[in-house]
C-alpha cells in the first residue's frame, strides 16, 4: 500500500466518524417505508412479476422524496420548483412565485430565451423575467428587484430568466460568473451570477441576485448561499401563465413524483386563491381553488387534483392525487379516510398574514383513487367537518403545450445529456444501453430497435466516441441527434430515421 492510499484510508476513517446521522428514523421516514412495503406487497399479490416491477416503479414515483427535509441545524427545509428552477430553502422563509409577471413581459418577437419565450428587444427588461424570490422577510407579492438593495437584516435571493444588458457583455459573453460575484446591477448592489439550463446544446440564460442587508445575520447569509448552491435549472418549454399575480409558495407537494407547489394569492372575487402548480409546466399543470378562506366560510374548502398520464411531463400512468384547500382556525388536523386504503393525514401550513385570511392551507397526498371522506378535527380530536371525497376522475391531465416535434427534440436533448454523463464517467459511450440510460435519465424510455418508436429513444451506432439517438414524435416524424466527442466531432442533427452517425450529420438548422 503506498503512502497516498494509506493517507486516504486514514482520512476516510477519520471523516466517517464525523458523520452525524440521526440514529433513529424520523416518523415520516417510517411511514413512507411502511406504505411502500404495503404497496409492494399488494402489488405482488395481484400481479405477475413483470407487472410488480412496474408497480414498484410507479410507487417509487408516488412515494418519492418528500419536498420537506431537515437541514443542518435542525431547520426545516423545503425544495420547490418554479418554472423549471429548483431551489432548497428554509421553510420559514418567504418564497414568492413571480412567474405570473412574465405574462406582462414576454412579447411575440425579439430576443429568444431558448425556452419558447421572447423578450422585448432593446434591453427593456433589465431585471429579466422574474421566476421567484426568496427572502427572510415577507417582501410582498411584487418583485424585489427594484434597483435598491435589501435594507436592514433582509436577505433576498432573486432568480430571473434572461436579464437584458445586465446579463451579457457587448461581445455576448456572460457579464457575471456562475458564482455569486459582488457588483451592481438591475437589483442594486449585491451579488450576481449568470446561470444556464444544464441541458446540452440549448442554453437558456438566468440572472441570479443575492441581496444582503447590512445587518443580515450570519445564519440568513448562509441560508442565501446554500439556497444559491442548491439551484438547478431545467430546460423546459415555457409559456406565461394566464394570470398576472405572483403567489406565495405555501408548501412543496409531490404528486406522483412530480414537483408541485401549493400557492396562495388574493382571489379576484375576494378571499384567497389556492393553487396546485406543477413546477415544470406552470401553465398547463395547475388547478385553482378560488374565492376561499373568507370570514364565515366553511371550516374546510377543498379541491382534488387528479392528473394522470402526464408522460409529457416526466410522469406516467396513474399518479395518485392531492387533496388541497383551506381550513379554518378551529381545525387542528385534516385527514382523508379512504376505505380499504387507510387514513392519509394532511399537512397544514400557514398562509402569510399579508393575505389577510385567518385560514390556513392544507394538502394531503393520496395514493389511492377510491372515494372516502375528508375529515377535519379539532385539537381534541372531535370531528368538525366531514366532506365526501369523490373518487378522483383522472381526466384532467393538462394538455401538452409543446408541439410534438419540439417535444421529441427535447427528449433527444435530454437523452444526449444522459449519454454525455455516462461518457464523462467512463470515457466511452460503449455500454450506454437502455438499462444504463434509464438509471441516468429515468424520465425517458429507451430501446435499441431498428425502427424508431414514438415517445422512446432509440440508441444506435455506439462507439467509444460516437452515439446516435433517434426518436419519433406524435405526428410520426423522425428525429435524430448524434454526438462525436472526437477531435473534429461535435453534435449533429437530423430529421430522419438515421441508422448511423453519418446519416445524422446536419447542423441545428436541420431541426428548423
Amino acid at each position: 500500500m503506498n503512502e497516498l492510499e494509506q493517507e486516504l484510508r486514514e482520512l476516510l476513517e477519520t471523516k466517517s466518524r464525523e458523520s452525524r446521522i440521526e440514529p433513529r428514523a424520523p416518523r415520516k421516514v417510517l411511514r413512507r417505508a411502511r406504505r411502500r412495503q404495503a404497496g409492494v406487497a399488494l402489488a405482488t399479490a395481484v400481479t405477475v412479476a413483470a407487472v410488480v416491477i412496474g408497480s414498484i416503479a410507479g410507487l417509487s414515483a408516488i412515494l418519492g422524496p418528500s419536498p420537506s427535509q431537515q437541514v443542518a441545524g435542525g431547520t426545516d427545509a423545503r425544495t420547490a420548483t418554479i418554472a423549471g428552477v429548483t431551489v432548497m430553502y428554509p421553510a420559514e422563509w418567504t418564497m414568492v412565485d413571480l412567474w405570473p409577471l412574465s405574462n406582462s413581459i414576454v412579447v411575440s418577437s425579439g430576443p429568444t430565451t431558448n425556452t419558447g419565450l421572447t423578450l422585448p428587444s432593446g434591453g427593456q427588461v433589465p431585471s429579466g423575467i422574474p421566476v421567484f424570490q426568496l427572502s427572510n422577510h415577507d417582501l410582498g407579492l411584487t418583485s424585489a428587484c427594484t434597483g435598491t438593495a435589501p435594507a436592514g437584516d433582509q436577505a433576498l435571493l432573486y432568480v430571473a430568466m434572461n436579464g437584458g444588458p445586465y446579463l451579457v457583455n457587448p461581445d455576448g459573453s456572460p457579464k457575471w460568473s456562475s458564482h455569486l460575484t459582488p457588483g451592481d446591477g438591475p437589483c442594486g448592489q449585491g451579488l450576481y451570477a449568470y446561470r444556464e439550463t444544464t441541458t446540452a446544446n440549448l442554453a437558456a440564460p438566468y440572472l441570479v441576485f443575492a441581496g444582503l442587508g447590512p445587518d443580515v445575520s450570519e445564519a440568513d447569509r448562509q441560508a442565501v448561499f446554500e439556497a444559491f448552491d442548491s439551484l438547478s435549472f431545467a430546460w423546459i418549454q415555457l409559456e406565461p401563465p394566464a394570470e398576472t399575480t405572483p403567489g406565495y409558495v405555501l408548501d412543496a407537494v409531490r404528486l406522483g413524483g412530480l414537483d408541485c407547489t401549493l400557492e396562495g394569492r388574493p382571489a379576484a372575487d375576494g378571499g384567497l386563491e389556492i393553487a396546485l402548480v406543477y413546477g415544470r409546466q406552470p401553465e398547463a399543470g395547475r388547478i385553482d381553488l378560488g374565492g376561499v378562506g373568507r370570514p364565515g366560510d366553511p371550516d374546510v374548502q377543498y379541491s382534488v387534483s387528479a392528473w394522470s398520464g402526464l408522460t409529457a411531463y416526466g410522469g406516467s400512468g396513474d399518479l395518485g392525487s392531492v387533496v388541497f384547500g383551506v381550513v379554518s382556525e378551529r381545525v387542528a388536523r385534516v385527514e382523508a379516510r379512504i376505505p380499504g386504503a387507510g387514513t392519509f393525514v394532511g399537512t397544514i401550513v400557514p398562509i402569510p398574514s399579508s393575505l389577510g385570511s385567518a385560514y390556513r392551507a392544507f394538502h394531503i397526498e393520496v395514493f389511492e383513487r377510491a372515494g372516502g371522506s375528508l375529515v377535519a378535527l379539532d385539537a381534541d380530536g372531535n370531528v368538525i367537518a366531514e366532506e365526501p371525497l369523490a373518487p378522483a376522475e383522472p381526466t384532467s391531465a393538462p394538455a401538452p403545450l409543446v408541439a410534438p416535434e419540439d417535444e421529441a427534440k427535447s427528449w433527444l436533448r435530454n437523452a444526449l445529456a444522459a449519454a454525455l454523463t455516462y461518457y464523462t464517467d467512463g470515457g466511452t459511450f460503449v455500454g450506454f444501453d437502455p438499462k444504463q440510460a434509464v438509471t441516468i435519465e429515468p424520465s425517458l424510455a429507451y430501446n435499441t430497435s431498428r425502427m424508431p418508436v414514438e415517445g422512446e429513444i432509440t440508441i444506435r451506432d455506439v462507439t467509444d466516441t460516437t452515439i446516435l439517438l433517434v426518436t419519433q414524435d406524435a405526428n410520426g416524424s423522425n428525429w435524430c441527434l448524434a454526438d462525436d466527442t472526437g477531435k473534429n466531432g461535435g453534435t449533429t442533427y437530423g430529421g430522419a430515421d438515421a441508422q448511423t452517425v453519418a446519416e445524422c450529420s446536419g447542423d441545428i438548422s436541420t431541426w428548423g
Binding site: L4, E7, L11, L12, S16, P23, V29, A33, R36, E226
Partner: protein, 173 residues
C-alpha cells in the same frame, strides 16, 4: 377496525425502526464520505432506506441489505449530483471567509487538502474510492455496487488516485 389497522401500522413501523437503527449509522458514514455534507448524507440514507424497504421482501438475498443500501445510496447520490450540478466553490470560499478560524492541528492542512480534492472527484470515481478504501470492498464487490465491470472499477480508482496525486502534489512526498 381502525384501531386494529393502527396497531398493525405501529408494529410494522417498530420493525422498520429497528431495521433503520441497525443499518443507518454505517450507511450514514458511507453517505457522508460521498457527499461531505451531513444533511445530504442523512437525506440519502433515509431515501435509500425507504426505497430498499419497499423491496425488502423481494430481495433475493435479504441478508445483503447493507449492499443494497450502499448501491441505492450511490445511485441516488450520482443522480442528485447530475440534477443539481452544484457549484460549491463560491460557498466554500464564503464559508472560509466568514467562518471563525479553526484551531489547526499540524497535519490538518494536508488532510483537508486531500479531503477537498476527494470532494472534487466525479461522483463515480469518488464512490469507487470510498468503496475500495473505506468499505474495503473487493474490485468485484465494488463493481457490483456500481453496476459496472471490474475493469471499469480499476479505471475509476486509477483515475481518481491520479487526480488526487496531482491535486495534492504527492510527487513531492
Amino acid at each position: 377496525m381502525v384501531s386494529t389497522e393502527v396497531a398493525g401500522q405501529e408494529k410494522t413501523e417498530g420493525r422498520l425502526a429497528e431495521l433503520y437503527v441497525r443499518h443507518a449509522p454505517a450507511a450514514g458514514r458511507f453517505a457522508y464520505l460521498l457527499t461531505a455534507d451531513h444533511q445530504q448524507a442523512q437525506d440519502l440514507v433515509q431515501e435509500a432506506f425507504v426505497r430498499i424497504v419497499g423491496r425488502f421482501g423481494h430481495l433475493r438475498v435479504p441478508d445483503a441489505f447493507d449492499a443494497y443500501l450502499r448501491r441505492t445510496i450511490v445511485n441516488l447520490h450520482t443522480s442528485r449530483l447530475r440534477r443539481l450540478r452544484v457549484e460549491r466553490a463560491y460557498l466554500e470560499r464564503e464559508r472560509g471567509r466568514v467562518a471563525p478560524a479553526v484551531g489547526a492541528m499540524p497535519d490538518v492542512g494536508a488532510r483537508e487538502e486531500l479531503w477537498r480534492a476527494l470532494r472534487r472527484l466525479p461522483a463515480r470515481q469518488r464512490a469507487a474510492v470510498v468503496l475500495r478504501y473505506y468499505e474495503d470492498l473487493s474490485e468485484q464487490a465494488t463493481a457490483d455496487v456500481l453496476r459496472c465491470s471490474t475493469a471499469a472499477v480499476k479505471s475509476l480508482v486509477a483515475r481518481a488516485m491520479a487526480t488526487l496525486r496531482d491535486e495534492i502534489g504527492s510527487e513531492e512526498r
